[in-house]
Amino acid sequence: MSPLAQCLSFSCLLFGVGLAGALTRRNAILVLVGIELMLNAANLNFIAFWRFGPHPEQLTGILFAIFSIGIAAAETAVGLALIITIYRHRGSTNLDDLTSLKG
């Protein structure tokens, strides 16, 4: 396997771990953690394509990864604020208890 394929396979595995966690855990915070892992896997792809792509002297991949890290930080802050608000209203962060929109 070429180095790029190894990097991309590693990031696919990381994405799978995050997806499995986000789909199966009952705690809202851990679902957010799973989403963070998936975002990190995407970031690794940016860096891998920059490093092994045809034009590594252009810094586009690096810059995209930096902006992506910034957006992920904003997303985490708002997500955790939402979870804290949900906890305050419902007394729980267990996703199985939050069924008031269920038809």
Partner: protein, 165 residues
């Protein structure tokens, strides 16, 4: 790919699996921090020093701590008797395995990944700063605006509401 990269990748994956599997939430947060450190090591080994250090600064320094604080504020250490995962977790794991497996199959069979490997690029932080202040200055301003908006939004959302009478 050297041994160092394999070790860092293994550390990242183990941290990720740990952060999704531990019962105690604080252990999950520490495993997540380990995973982020491993990923930062991967970035360093790939030659993206600035992104590696930004990863340590933002993820290990801020996001992991933020998650720990949120766990402390919501104060629900999961009890030993409750099931760890939601109902229908088999389906969730199957979806994740299918998604990951099909992605890896596509990657391995793709012609894009077979290109020649270029030499390790030299990335100077100076060039990065010049790019950020030159071509990408609007994007930089935009992300500054986004971070300010999300800061205000997070404060407003988490603000304790007045009791309704």
């Amino acid at each position: 790919m050297g041994t160092a990269f394999c070790i860092a990748a293994l550390l990242t994956l183990l941290g990720g699996v740990g952060s999704m599997c531990f019962r105690n939430l604080v252990h999950c947060a520490f495993a997540l921090a380990v995973s982020f450190v491993g990923l930062a090591a991967c970035y360093l080994l790939l030659g993206a020093e600035f992104v590696g250090f930004a990863q340590v600064l933002v993820y290990v320094g801020a996001v992991a701590i933020l998650i720990v604080i949120a766990m402390l504020l919501t104060r629900n250490i999961e009890s030993k008797h409750e099931p760890l995962v939601a109902g229908g977790w088999v389906m969730g794991v199957c979806v994740a395995v299918l998604a990951s497996g099909s992605l890896i199959l596509c990657v391995v069979n793709s012609s894009v990944v077979q290109g020649p490997v270029s030499a390790r690029p030299t990335m100077s932080t100076r060039a990065l700063g010049e790019q950020l202040m030159g071509d990408y200055v609007m994007a930089l301003e935009g992300i500054g605006l986004l971070l300010t908006a999300s800061l205000i939004g997070a404060v407003v959302i988490a603000l304790r509401e007045k009791e309704e009478r």
